[in-house]
Symmetry: C2
Subunit: 189 residues, 2 copies
C-alpha cells in the first residue's frame, strides 16, 4: 500500500473573511485529483471536540490545539486536512505547526476588518459592536495575522476562483497536490 | 491513489484488563502488514481532547464521543484506528458505532474484577477501594459489558500472544487485514 502525501492546510483569518468557502473549494479540487481530504471547520469541530468551551484566550487556545491534534493525526496518515478556523493567536498556530510531522501550510485569508464588517453576512459584527456578543475577534478580541504564512489571499480583491487558483498553484508547485489530469482523448478530439 | 481499508478496532474493558497492551500488539502486527495505524489510548487522548473533564457519566460520555469522532475520521480515510478506552457505557459505544462509515469492530477485553484487583498494577484499585479516587469503574462506577462485541478475549486465561492471535485471525477472516506475507525466497531455501 503506498502512502499518499498528507499535509495540513490551515486557513486563518477574521470571521467572514472567506475561510470556509475557500476550504470547501480547495476540498473539491483536491478530491478531484484523487487525494483523501477532510475539512475541519471551526464551528463543526467546536461542537464535536470543544462543547462547553467559550471564547476566552485559554478556551480558544484549547480549541485550536484540539483541531491541531486531529489535523496532525490525519495528515501524518496521508490525508489532506483542511482547517478553517479563526485561530487568532499566532503562538498557538505556531505550536500546532511545530507539532506536525507532515507539512503544515498556513493560508492567511486576509480581508480588512471594515470589509468583513460591511458584508457581515451572519450579522455577528453588528451584535458584537452592540455588545451582545463578547470576545469577538476584531471587535473585542485581538487577531494576530501570520508573519510567515506560506500563502496569503486577499478576498477583498479576489473572487473565490482567483484565491483558489493561488492556493492550488502553490500546492502544485510544492508537489503536494497532483497537477490537473489532462484528458488525452478529449485533447485529441 | 487506492484507498486502503480503514476500520476502527475499539477495545473496551476494566482498567488493568489489558486493553493498551493488546492495542499495542495489534498495532505492531497490523503495521507489519502494511496498514496505516493510529492508537488512540484513553489517557493520552483525554490529555489532548478532554483536559478539564472528569469522570462523571456525562464527562465520560463526552470523552468517549470525542475519541469516537477522531476514530471515525481516521477510519473513513483508510487508517486502522485502534482505541483503548474503558468506555464503560454501552449506549455511548453503540452511538459511536452507528456514527461510523467504516467498519466498527468492538473487542471486549474480558477480565473479572477480582483478577484486575488482584493484579492492580497501577495501584488504582487500592486507592479506589480506600475512597481516594471517586467514580472508579468497577468499584464506585458501573461497567456495562458489550452484548454483541465482534471479538471477546479473556485475559485471565490467555496470554498476550493468544489474545492477539484471536483478534488478528478474526480480522483476517473478515478481510480487514492482509494475511501474513509468505516470504517465498526464504520458504524455498
Amino acid at each position: 500500500m503506498t502512502k499518499p502525501t498528507g499535509f495540513t492546510l490551515w486557513f486563518t483569518g477574521l470571521s467572514g473573511a472567506g475561510k470556509s468557502t475557500l476550504a470547501g473549494a480547495v476540498r473539491d479540487t483536491v478530491k478531484g485529483r484523487g487525494h483523501l481530504v477532510e475539512v475541519l471547520d471551526g464551528d463543526e469541530v467546536r461542537a464535536n471536540l470543544s462543547a462547553g468551551l467559550g471564547f476566552s484566550k485559554e478556551d480558544r487556545d484549547t480549541n485550536v490545539r484540539r483541531i491541531g491534534y486531529v489535523a496532525r493525526l490525519l495528515s501524518r496518515n496521508g490525508v489532506v486536512a483542511i482547517v478553517a478556523a479563526i485561530s487568532p493567536y499566532r503562538d498557538i498556530r505556531n505550536e500546532v505547526r511545530r507539532a506536525h510531522e507532515a507539512r503544515f501550510v498556513e493560508v492567511f485569508v486576509d480581508c480588512p476588518l471594515d470589509e468583513v464588517m460591511r458584508r457581515d453576512r451572519k450579522g455577528l459584527y453588528a451584535k458584537a459592536i452592540a455588545g451582545k456578543i463578547g470576545n469577538f475577534t476584531g471587535v473585542s478580541d485581538p487577531y494576530e495575522p501570520p508573519i510567515d504564512a506560506e500563502i496569503t489571499v486577499h478576498t477583498q480583491f479576489e473572487n473565490v476562483e482567483q484565491s483558489l487558483s493561488i492556493i492550488v498553484s502553490w500546492l502544485e508547485q510544492q508537489g503536494l497536490v497532483s497537477p490537473s489530469i489532462v484528458n488525452v482523448e478529449s485533447a485529441r478530439s
